[in-house]
Every structure is written in C-alpha cells, then in structure tokens.
C-alpha cells in the first residue's frame, strides 16, 4: 500500500479517506489482485494440460473465474461494519441450510452434500468456511480479548454445531477446514498457549473415539491407505502411488508443459481436480512448484498483513482466519498429493477445476480487500 501512502502524503490536508485511483475507488487491493490473477492463470494453464489439450474444461473454468471475480468485487464493496451486522443472520442461514441438506439434500457419491435451489445445486458446507470465522469474529468483537472460559465455550459451540452437521453428511474434508477456521480465530483472539496445547492433547485423545464411533468405513480406509498405500496398489492406494510417481518423476525441472506422461496417459486420477498439484509437479518440476508456493505464500502473508493493519477486532480476526483458511487448503491439498496426509477431498485453491471453493475463497479475498480499503485513516 505504499502507493496509497505516497498519494496521501502528496495531498496532506485533504480527506485521507478519499481514495485515489480507480482500483482504490473500487476497493481493490492491487497486490492481492495480482497474486490472485497469477494463480488463476497458472490454474487455467495447468488445467489445459491436465485435460489433455481440451478447451472444454478450460472454458468452463474461465466462466467460473468470471463469477468468482464478480463475487470478489461485490464483497470488496461491502464495508466490514455492514458485514458484521449481517453476520449472525448469515450464520443462522448457513446452519439452516446445513440442516436442510441433511433433510432434503441430494445424495452424490455416497454423501448428502448438495442442496438444489432451482437455479443450481450447491454445497452449503462451502459457505460455512467463511461464515463460521465471521460468526466467531463477531462474537469475540463484542467481548474483551483474550477470551475467558465462558466466551471460549460459547465460541467452541459456534464452531462445533456446523462442523458436526457437515461431518454428518459426511464431508470430513470440509468439516476439518471449517473446524480449522474456527481454531484459527480462537488462536488469533489470543487464547492462551496452554489452552491450545491442552486442546491439541484433547483432540489426540478423541481421535481413537472418532475412529470407533464417528468415522465411516471409507474414511477409515483412507487413513489406512495413507499409512500404507502399497497394501492395495490397484485399489485405494492407487491415487497416492500414481501421484507420487507423477511428482517424483517430474524431478527438478519437470517433463515440460503438456509432456507429463502420468497425467496425459491417465495414470493419475483426479488430475484436473484434487490431484492437479501432481500435474504441476510432473510437468514443471520442483522449480515450478516452488514458484507456485511462493505465489501462495505471498497471498497468505498479504492477507495476514491486512489483518494486522485492520482497525477493529472483528476485521482483524476475520481477515486473519480467512488468510489461514487459504493456508489450510494449500497445506492439506499439497500434503495429501505428496503423501504426507491422508486423502481428503480438498482442492488446490484457485487451481483445481471446480466452482464452489473457487467462489468462496475468492469472495474471502474480496472481504480481505474490503477490510483493507474501508479503513478509516486518521489525518497525520
């Protein structure tokens, strides 16, 4: 934001809140926008390769990117204060939709995740990824920080209700992401380190119970496959084995754009969606991946910077957790594709083919921009 600052110092006495330039007027944060557009571009290029030179998916994705940019722009215009007022209602609406999904939702691939509103199907769980941190930020913004035991309990309840509803669908990946978004808000709100460690210990204790009572067979299978993919190389372990071969065979510089054999000969499953990271690893090598990771890191750190610059605790907590949700996406996806984590259906943000996460994450960046561009700057 140095450009804005120099602009401000160039015009000392005038209203510092009057933004200069078109982007500032549109409440757009240029560094975030550039980072995002670069990620979109990388995504389209890799998608073109992963779909074997077919434009069909690329065109579909371009349309979704258009919609995502629109959402970003719309959210950037909403002042954080107004968003904050809406927050409880948005939260309740999402809870209602999550309940509705369990009651009326469409079943696909063995899980009940979809809600049909007549204009198209969508997954309400996706909205929870933004609404839950919003709701927690709203709650904490009304109470002094760091939170006391009572606030902590209420906040935990606010996270747990949607997380359990999503886990019941079942959609373990999304439930995990929503829970992590909640945990990040708690963390950023200043929950003591002791408590965080205690929570970690509690989770470790709950894990075996979850294994016994909560998890479905296919979820257990995923974890087992993660622990030992070779035991079933043609079945459950196939994804991760082929993904590791794709990435490993890419080497330092990759096989070259459009030259990945693992992807083009269809050995790599889900190569346009959850496993698109392996296509990048195969065709562009470690060098290409490092460049992509740097791009992501830039966007995440920019988000955290915006959070620290924010002027009220609602904006701060929301901006921080939105940035960290993006990080969780990135980490879980790259971790699962490289075999560090079990396979849970988490896409690579802005890159994987698919609309819902693209839309919510882009809208999240719009909120970040809004937070940053709606600051009330004091005259020096």
């Amino acid at each position: 934001m140095s450009a804005v600052r120099t602009g401000r110092s160039a015009l000392p006495p005038s209203d510092p809140n009057k933004r200069q330039g078109l982007l500032a007027g549109l409440h757009i944060d240029l560094p975030l926008l550039i980072g995002l557009l670069l990620l979109y571009a990388v995504g389209l290029a890799v998608l073109y390769s992963a779909s074997d030179g077919s434009w069909v998916r690329v065109e579909a994705q371009m349309a979704r990117i258009g919609a995502a940019l629109t959402a970003l722009f719309v959210f950037a215009q909403i002042p954080p204060q107004r968003l904050r007022r809406w927050t409880p209602w948005l939260y309740l609406a999402v809870i209602a939709m999550l309940v509705a999904v369990l009651v009326f939702g469409h079943v696909g691939k063995g899980a009940q995740r979809w809600l049909d509103l007549g204009i198209g199907r969508f997954q309400p769980a996706e909205f929870a990824k933004t609404t839950v941190p919003m709701m927690m930020a709203w709650y904490f913004s009304r109470h002094p920080l760091p939170p006391g035991w009572k606030d902590l309990a209420i906040a935990t309840l606010l996270v747990l209700v949607p997380v359990l509803l999503i886990a019941k669908e079942p959609d373990l990946g999304t439930a995990l992401l929503v829970a992590s978004a909640g945990v990040f808000v708690l963390f950023l709100a200043g929950v003591s380190w002791k408590l965080i460690l205690g929570l970690g210990a509690a989770l470790a204790a709950i894990a075996p119970l979850a294994w016994l009572f909560l998890m479905r067979d296919y979820q257990k299978q995923r974890v087992l496959t993660f622990l030992d993919p070779e035991q079933d190389p043609l079945g459950a372990g196939y994804h991760i084995i082929q993904s590791k071969i794709a990435i490993g065979s890419g080497g330092l510089w990759g096989k070259g754009f459009l030259n990945g054999t693992q992807s083009h000969l269809e050995f790599l499953p889900e190569r346009t969606t959850d496993f698109i990271f392996a296509v990048i690893g195969e065709e562009l090598g470690l060098a290409g991946i490092l460049a992509l990771m740097a791009l992501f890191l830039f966007v995440i750190l920019r988000g955290l910077y915006i959070a620290t610059e924010a002027q009220d605790s609602y904006s701060r907590l929301l901006a921080g957790s939105l940035s960290l949700v993006l990080f969780v996406y990135l980490f879980v996806n790259t971790g699962m594709v490289t075999g560090l984590l079990p396979v849970v259906g988490v896409p690579l943000p802005f890159i994987s083919f698919g609309g819902t996460s693209l839309l919510t994450l882009s809208a999240g960046l719009g909120i970040l921009m809004s937070i940053h561009t709606h600051r009330k700057l004091l005259p020096q």
């Binding site: 950023l188 071969i245 490993g248 490092l290 620290t308 940035s323």
Partner: protein
Amino acid sequence: MHQTLKDVRREQRIFTNRALAAAGLVIASLAVVVVRLTWLQVLHHDEFITESRENRLKLLPIAPTRGLIRDRNGVILAHNLPSFSLEIVPERVPDLDDTLARLARILPIGKEDLARFQRQRKHKRRFDSIPIRTRLSEEEVAAFAVNRHRFPGVEIEAKLLREYPYPEETAHVLGYVGRINEAELKAIDPVNYAGTSHIGKTGIEKSWEEVLHGKVGFEQVEVNARGRVVRVLNRQPPVPGKDLTLFLDIELQRIAMQAFGDHNGAAVAIDPNTGGVLAMVSKPGFDANLFVEGISFKDYKALRSSPDKPLFDRAMRGQYPPGSTVKPFIGLGGLETGVIRFDDTKFCPGYYQLPKQSHKYRDWKRWGHGKVDMDKAITESCDVYYYDLAHTLGIDRLHDWLARFGFGQRTGIDLPGERRGILPSREWKRKARKQVWFPGETLIMGIGQGYFLATPLQLASAVGVIATNGLRIEPRIVASVSAGEGAAARETPIVAHAVPVGDPQHWSDIRMAMNHVIEGRHGTARRLRNPDYRLAGKTGTAQVFTVKQDESYDARKVSKKNRDHALFIAFAPLEAPRIAVAVLVENGGHGGSVAAPIAKAIMDYYLLGKRPAAAGKKP
C-alpha cells in the same frame, strides 16, 4: 466491570503477535511440504522416473504370419484370412458378468459362444485375450466400436485366421491349428510364441509347426492407464512363417475321395521314386475349419459319436489285416531266400493241412486252384500255395523279410501320429501275448491275416519298394519350403533305404505276376485292364474280426460292419512306375471289385489326366 471493557491496544498487540506466530506456522508447514517435494523430486527422482516409464511403456509381441500350404500345382490348401473377433482380457475387466451381459445387448452372443469362452478361459495364459465372438461382420464391428469406451478390457481384434479351402479333402493330411493350451504352453518357446494364439494340433500343421510359425516380432508402445496403445515407439517386424509346397495334388485327392462313393476307407498314392505323397485320403473327412477358433460342443459331439468316425485318420492310423496284398512280398521272399523257384508248382486241393494235424486251412476257392505256380498263386490269389510257402519259410524268416518292406515300423512320413501296424514275430507274441508262437499262426500270416496289421500308408510304401526294385523311400508330404512368393524353394531331402536285391529277375517276375492280376485271364483285378497304360497290382480281402454290438442300432449297418475290408495295392506304369497306390475300403467286400476301381481312378487321373466317368459328382 473493568474487565469487560475492551483494551484496544492490548488486543492489537496480542493479535499482531499471534499473526506473526501464524505466519511462522504457515512458513514452517509449507517448508515441510517443500522438504517432502525435495525428497520425491530430487532424492528419489530416479526411482519414480523408472516407475513412470514402467507405467507407460510396454513391449508387445507381434505374431508372425503363418506360412501358406500349397499343393503340387500351387493351389492353396491352407491360408490366413483377415477376421475380426471380439476378445476379452478377463484380468482387465472390472466385472466380467456385467460386461458380458452388457455386451449381449450390443452384439448377438449365443450360448455356444459363452460356453466356449468359459472353456477357453480355464486354459488360458495370464493376460491372454479370449474371443467371445469370432468372425464378426462389419456391422457388428461398428456396433461395438462406438461403444468401446464402455468396455474396458474388451477389444476388437483384427487378426488372420487360418482357413482350409478344401476342408473335407485335406482335414487329415493338413490337420488344423487351434488355440494354444496349457500342455502345449509348457513345450513351446514362450518368447517366440508370445504373440501367437494358435498352434498346429494335428497333421502337417503340427509336424511342420516350427517352419510354418515364423519368428515373433516386437513393438515398443506407449499405453495409457487402461492398457490401450497410444503410440508405437519402436518396432522389430516379425519373420513370417515359411510356405510349404506339397507333393499332394488336391484334384487327385478329390477324385480319390469321390471314387469311394458311399464307402469309408483310405487311399494312399505315392510317387515311388521320390516318396512324395500324391494323395492321402481318409474317408469320411471333416471340416477342420471348425476347430480353428474352438469347436462347439455340439459339433464336436457329432463328430465324436458318428459311427463313421470321421476324425479317425484311416490312412496312417488305421491298422488293418493286409490280407492277400502281402502275397507278392512273401512270394518275393520265397524266391530271394531260395526256398522256392518261380515256376515250382504246388497242388491246391482247396485246403491245407499241417503235418500230423487235422485242422484244415481253407482256400477262398472251395474246390481249389489245382496245380499252382507262383504266377498263378498271385494272379488268382491262391491261399494254399501261400500257406505252404509261409510254412516253409517259417515265422522268423517271414518276419525278417517283411520287415525289409517297412511292415511293423513307421514309414517315417513327415506327419504326426503314424501307427506301426503289427508285424508279428515270436518275440512280439511273447511280449504282447505272453505266449509261444504256434505254427498255424505262420500259415495265416502267409495270407495276411491273424495278428498281422498294416496301415494303408505302409502298404503303399511297400508296394513302391517292389516297383522301384528295392528302394524303400520314406514317404514325404512336403516337397519344398520357401520363404514367401518368389523366394527360392528348398526341397525336402529324400530318405531312402535300399532293400538288398539278390536276383533282379525275382523282382521282375513278381512284377509280371502282379501285372497278370490285371492282364491275366483269371486275374482278380482284370477289370482294370486298359489300353492306355500297363499296371501291376494285387487284390486283398481282410476279415473283420470284432463287431461291438452296442456300437450301432442300425441293423443294416451292423451287417455291413461284418463285411470284409477290400484292399488293393498297385503301381503303374509297369515299365517305369511313377505311382504306387494302396486302397482300403472298409466293409467293401472283395478287393478286385471295390478297391481296385478306386486305385484305377487315382492312376487314371495322375497318369492320363483322365477324370472318372461319373464326373457329374465333381463340384
């Protein structure tokens, strides 16, 4: 209420600290991923590049084209026709039953197809493809092609299928190819047969398998995850199998077959100078094409249970008592061993008795032939003369002499499964029957009965020895081998065994006596006399010993089965023989009237190019 007030500065400070910690966490976590990536992409790169190569590169064998088989005039007897079949690799099919059910909705798949598929599945190699439908029409190929993506592991295979244009005439000689089974798999070179699905099962196809098969080629291809070939990277073409040219004349073969009329039997015609098999017929034949892609159970049952036994190759596996056709050989033995002279006479009263025995060995002519010399004994086929001659020679000399003509041994023909027949001896009887030899058995051996058994092929080969004055040449079916059209043909070698000739006059006398069988006034085959060429022959009649009553319900058939087998051996032209023939007509009765005309038809066509009068039967 101080605590409930928000301390903005403190909150800001805490948040900044936490945000910094979060940034640290982000960087540390991504560093872990980068370390992992380095492990995969740098440290273990070589292993993964190997695995990725193994994923996509396959070495596919290319089966060589099987050699053609032609007759002596270049007529194709076995060739390869392009054919489309729908094949399944069960290992690549996720749900076989479901796939078969869905396939049946696109293409007609019969019960027989399914039964054959399941049968062949049991005997296949891993990742072998098995046909579910063969000989697809173009419409059927198209119908599957548009649905191909729905059937992983199912492919249309365009391949060359063996076909025999003259199935009935050539089934026994050529044999047929069929799918490689487990037992054969253990015997063949797995590399050379890597792409081959069929192998010679019988006949020439089996004995000449190595030559006909050729050498496998290879293709390095890139495949996708579903095993489909994306592109060819490298190719080493196969060496096609070599073509065979036979001595066999398919027209002669057909004429011989037709000459049998309604009778079953066998005829073998050999060029005695080369051993080349000109015709080799076993009637009835069968359609060998049925076996190529696996015969249906129904067809196979029909062939197996037919009372005519069409699958049985009578020409070289059928063992029959040679009857009176052995008389020229035994007569020659008498002359060459010096126990009798050609003009010596014996008196035939119509029976023969061993000294001090009351049993009468009867002549076929009840009232006897009277005074008989060797010429008359052969011409009129006097049994008593030969009882006496055999008795004089004794079993040992008789056995050793006949062995020179190849009786009791394989002729050495280049076909599989030839039988030896039985040339009895004291030793043979001790081993086979655990009994001593009785003098009476020598007598009936003198007229080609008793334990004595010979194949029609042996008889043709043996009569060739008389024709060539002592040359026993191993019969050969294949004349030459060539590597495709235009390439130089390599002739197969003659393998000859010289039978010692004591006095050439003896051989000439026997040939003349055999000529008198046709040209003599009382010759048993005098109907064969013709103005175009002179021939020599000998008729024979073999008693049928066993009839299993449960084999047939047809009364007429049973009675026919009791009838004698008719035999005739001959060679022509007398002066410089070019063809030696042996004919056996099962249950044909008398040799002169049934078997001899078949031999004549064969010789007429071979020597004169003359087709039989009943040419209306010719297709």
